[in-house]
């Protein structure tokens, strides 16, 4: 009984991002037992959990997996769902509550020193709803309203630092906050990130390049107000669905409005928000608590997990991944980042912050692979997509750490040069700026290498009319970039390509508004999804131009010369990727490039790019398979051979990665033509080395963790009167305390009885116990 409850609780406490990789032995995986438990096989999860998960799975791209082999499984599952439905179909509860299904919570994240995010009390925070549409409405909530606490339904445009500070100052009157999406996005920009992202974890510090440390030169993200790095003591939810917002507003208008500012009569419309977080204070504290639990307890209650996922990487020419490269092998690295974030959990569209750049790099990888002499170039090219860069460079710091420790096939000294794509989709007048690091160029050789790098890029750009490459002033620091982590370890010659010369052009850096519209990806009305998928937007053309420049530059850097002008990135690839990542993941092309068991990961909306905890997110998988299909080769293997190519003498698992993908639909669109794709696209663990080394207070490596929780949900209902409810609340608490006391007493009594029988007399024990308690 005890074991089963704890199992189901643990399943509840985590939202699933997908299947665990079948590598539980991966370092940093603290308790292997969890791997099995976390697999989202609903028939194992049971009624309670499946009811809990419904509605939440949408963001994680859940759904029914209808493999032909698993029909019976499906039936079992549907039976479970039916049972859950029956249990949940309490009609009285339906008379009282309206659950809000399309919400995203703000959750607690922790680093070495701080906690950020939000939380509710353990039984959820309830407050009378008040709609705040303009700043004057706040007056009612903060001072005038007679029925505190309030849950504020805040208009998206008012979700600013000013307003939030006011609310935070009166947190006794605020039970929680529900934020609606602003449409259109705020014109003046909105970025909950800080003005100097990833400060302290890049290459500049007070001891190295102190004039550049802490963005002293200038703030990269000027609109950043740092909201996402604040700690709030009340829950904050995002209302993603306009219909639900309207239902709440209607309830508010019906019950909570009174003529000329008098107190409205009960019953009042109220909202309850549940987002209780288990972890507190900092990563140091919560990891220590988890460790103590897992070393002593049979069913440990882990309180937080390190943010971690997988980097995606591939090589132009396959190498043996079971060993490491020879020191004189040269590799050109092309890097970009995969992830973004926003104020809310798992809402991270990151169109400009991440998606546009990694799509450009994918297109460049495809273009370069098509060069006729790609396999015979003197130097190799490595494409890396770093995960978790938003949270103090998790992916790149891990890769550098692995390279230093010989756990990665490519070593630091193999790196010939480093080309990184920053944000590239919002170029003014064709300019693409080349950012370099002034500190490393104090070294003469590095200076020369960078000079070569820049001129190579300029030559490559010369043949592309839509891109003009521009150099920057020598004394300008690098923007936040993965290159900084490599520079910390070694003076490599590197460049960061970006659309901005100083501060970001992106007005919505790491916010919920960093969507397709932000980078002008729009489609003519009235088209079918299939037409949209293949419609080449202007943004796609522009990004294809950048991809062409990148591919040609990499070709030259790798020592190629003869086919330079034939290398051309395909705008069709770019536009399909843009559509898939930013508009609709569940499209025919993404379906055809994915493994059959992953197809349910594709939802009808855009993919989210928040780094997960311990399992590849949907986006990571899609990037890996897009890379595999764009750079790989379809080879003639059966399904079994593809899944275990070691039986085929001509194939080598150390050189290549083999994937069995669904393939496109056949001519009459009934069946798919599955096939085997051979590529070099692989995943590499992106868990911060701080957790590998158990240095949870590290200032060298990222220490971000995500708190666990049991229950995240929101609902609205009517309350009859506030005072009595509070009274009852305290009564319930009293009962709870009394119950715990009784428990304690009985334990003590048992102990006493067991140990010193004569001392246990009905006259003395309660007082003695109370004193001890």
């Amino acid at each position: 009984m005890v074991a089963s409850t704890s199992a189901s609780l643990r399943i509840d406490s985590r939202k699933f991002h997908g299947y665990e990789l079948p590598a539980p032995g991966a370092p940093g995986h603290r308790d292997g037992a969890r791997v099995g438990l976390e697999r989202p096989l609903p028939e194992k999860v049971g009624i309670e959990a499946s009811a809990q998960l419904r509605g939440k799975m949408a963001t994680a791209g859940g759904g029914c997996v209808a493999d032909p082999g698993s029909r019976s499984l499906l039936r079992l599952l549907s039976f479970c769902v039916l049972l859950a439905g029956l249990c949940e179909g309490n009609s009285v509860e339906r008379k009282i509550y309206i659950p809000l299904n399309k919400t995203a919570p703000c959750v607690r994240l922790l680093n070495a020193t701080h906690q950020i995010g939000c939380q509710s009390s353990i039984s959820g925070d309830t407050g009378v709803i008040h709609v705040v549409e303009k700043e004057e409405d706040l007056q009612w909530v903060l001072t005038d309203g007679p029925n505190p606490p309030y849950v504020v339904l805040l208009e998206g445009t008012l979700f600013t630092r000013d307003v939030m500070e006011k609310l935070k100052g009166r947190s006794g009157r605020i039970a929680g906050l529900a934020v609606s999406l602003a449409k259109p996005s705020p014109a003046s920009g909105f970025s909950p990130s800080v003005q100097c992202p990833n400060d302290g974890f890049g290459v500049y510090s007070n001891s190295y390049g102190s004039q550049f440390a802490h963005c002293r030169a200038f703030q990269w993200n000027k609109v950043g107000d740092g909201l996402a790095y604040e700690d709030f003591s009340f829950p904050i939810f995002l209302l993603e669905d306009e219909n639900e917002t309207n239902v709440i507003k209607q309830c508010y208008r019906d019950h909570n409005l009174s003529p000329n500012g008098s107190a409205p009569a009960f019953p009042l419309c109220a909202m309850q928000l549940f987002s209780h977080m288990h972890a507190v204070v900092s990563t140091v504290t919560c990891m220590r608590r988890s460790l103590i639990q897992s070393s002593f307890s049979i069913s440990p209650e882990i309180v937080c997990d390190p943010l971690s996922d997988y980097n995606v990487w591939s090589l132009l020419k396959p190498i043996n991944t079971s060993g490491t490269l020879e020191p004189d092998d040269r590799v050109v690295v092309a890097a970009t980042r995969l992830d973004s974030r926003s104020f809310f959990w798992n809402v991270a569209p990151g169109a400009e912050s991440a998606v546009a750049s990694f799509i450009t790099q994918l297109a460049a990888a495809e273009a370069l692979q098509k060069a006729p002499d790609a396999a015979t170039l003197p130097r190799n090219v490595m494409f890396v997509f770093f995960q978790g860069e938003t949270f103090d460079y998790i992916g790149s710091s891990r890769m550098v750490y692995d390279m230093e420790n010989g756990k990665f096939p490519v070593q630091l000294e193999n790196i010939d040069s480093f080309v990184e794509l920053g944000q590239v989709a919002l170029r003014n007048s064709l300019e693409l700026w080349m950012h370099t690091d002034p500190m490393s160029q104090k070294n003469e050789t590095v200076l020369n290498q960078v000079e070569v790098l820049l001129s190579t890029l300029e030559q490559s750009g010369a043949g592309v009319p839509t891109v003009v490459l521009r150099r920057l002033n020598q004394s300008q620091p690098l923007p936040p970039s993965s290159l900084q982590r490599f520079l910390r370890a070694r003076n490599v010659s590197g460049v960061v390509l970006a659309d901005h010369s100083d501060s970001f052009h992106n007005l919505y850096y790491q916010s919920i508004y960093d969507t397709a519209e932000n980078i002008n990806v729009t489609y003519p009305a009235g088209q079918s999804p299939e037409e949209d998928l293949n419609f080449v937007t202007d943004t796609a053309k522009a990004l294809a131009g950048v991809a062409t420049v990148l591919a040609r530059a990499l070709y030259r850097l790798a020592g190629g010369a003869s086919f330079n002008d034939t290398i051309q990135a395909d705008p069709h690839t770019v536009t399909r990727l843009l559509y898939g990542f930013l508009v609709r993941a569940n499209n025919s092309w993404f379906q055809s490039i994915l493994r059959p068991d992953l197809r349910s990961y594709l939802g009808d909306g855009p993919l989210q790019h928040y780094i997960a905890v311990s399992s590849p997110t949907n986006a990571t998988y899609v990037v890996q398979y897009a890379l595999a299909n764009l750079t790989g080769k379809v080879i003639d293997l059966t399904r079994e051979q593809c899944q275990d190519p070691s039986q085929v003498p001509t194939e080598n698992k150390d050189l290549y990665e083999y994937t069995w993908v669904q393939g496109p639909l056949n001519a009459n669109e009934t069946d798919r033509l599955p096939r085997c794709v051979r590529s070099t696209a692989r995943l590499a663990r992106a868990l911060s080395p701080a957790f590998e080394l158990k240095q949870w207070g590290s200032t060298e490596y990222s220490t971000w963790t995500e708190s666990r929780w049991k229950d995240i949900r929101a609902r609205i209902f009517l309350i009859a009167s506030k005072e009595l409810e509070a009274e009852f609340g305290s009564m319930a608490e009293l009962l709870d305390v009394a119950g715990k006391g009784l428990n304690q007493l009985s334990v003590e009594a048992n102990l006493q009885e067991w140990r010193l029988k004569p001392a246990f007399s009905p006259h003395c024990w309660p007082r003695a116990c109370l004193q001890r308690a």
């Binding site: 009282i96 009517l718 409810e725």
Partner: protein, 257 residues
């Protein structure tokens, strides 16, 4: 207000049954046993009716609005039939048991069938009351109250009174039913069945709470009067009781004279 609603509704629904239990049942262990067996029989009848309802629901499968409603009506009717069948089965069991009791203990009088009818009816009533109301009662603890979809806010109060009337009706039905069986007046069984069906069907017209409460209470009063006379009451004994001249009225009356 949620706590007030909770306690108020709980006492309305279960107060009378609790009082009857304390004043008439607790006094003798045998009565407690028969009460619990009665409650158990009602539970088994619920199990059977829910099995039937569940299999029908899975067989039909489709979940559209009118069909669910018809399924619910069907479920209620089946449940009433099964409950009455179990009442009859319980009667048969008691019949055998009282003969057995006589042979075990010939010196003491076995409880009369009238008393057993009352005890078993109360057992049925308490169990059905608990099952129909406890879930609702737990929801009354809040934090919300009924009304967000425009339902009347007196829903909990209505449910409490409905539970009360069902509990008392089960007592009366038990008395009348057993008496009918004893005297082989089979039409009483039919009347009990029909009135049970009627009261259950009344709850299906849920928004008109006032109407069906009033009707249910009228039926309860009628059944109560019938049960009173069936169990040997008369105008005279009622008068004596009301004037407090016969203090042992309720208990005394139950003994076989």
């Amino acid at each position: 207000m949620t706590a007030a609603v909770f306690f108020g509704c709980a006492f309305i629904a279960f107060g009378p049954a609790l009082a009857l239990y304390i004043f008439t049942i607790v006094t003798e262990p045998l009565r407690i046993i028969f009460l619990i067996i009665g409650a158990f029989f009602w539970l088994v009848s619920l199990l059977f009716s829910s099995l039937i309802w569940f299999t029908t629901a899975t067989l039909i499968g489709n979940k559209d609005e009118p069909r669910e409603k018809y399924l619910l009506i069907f479920g209620v009717l089946i449940s009433v039939l099964i409950q009455e069948m179990f009442r009859f089965a319980y009667y048969k069991l008691l019949k055998k048991a009282s003969e057995g009791l006589k042979t075990i203990n010939p010196y003491e009088k076995a409880p009369s069938m009238r008393l057993l009818a009352y005890v078993s009816g109360l057992g049925f009533g308490i169990m059905s009351g608990v099952f129909s109301f406890v879930n609702t009662l737990s929801d009354s603890l809040g934090p919300g109250t009924v009304g967000i979809h425009g339902d009347p806010p007196q829903f909990f109060l209505y449910s409490a009174f409905m539970t009360l009337v069902i509990t008392l009706l089960h007592v009366f039905w038990g008395i009348v039913f057993f008496d009918g069986c004893e005297k082989k007046k089979w039409y009483t069984l039919l009347v009990v069945l029909l009135s049970h069906l009627l009261v259950s069907a009344l709850t299906l017209i849920s928004p008109h709470y006032g109407l069906n409460l009033v009707l249910a209470y009228i039926i309860m009063v009628l059944m109560g009067v019938w049960a009173f006379f069936v169990s040997g009451g008369s105008c005279r004994s009622l008068k004596l009781c009301l004037l407090c001249q016969d203090k042992d009225f309720l208990l005394f009356n139950q003994r076989a004279r």
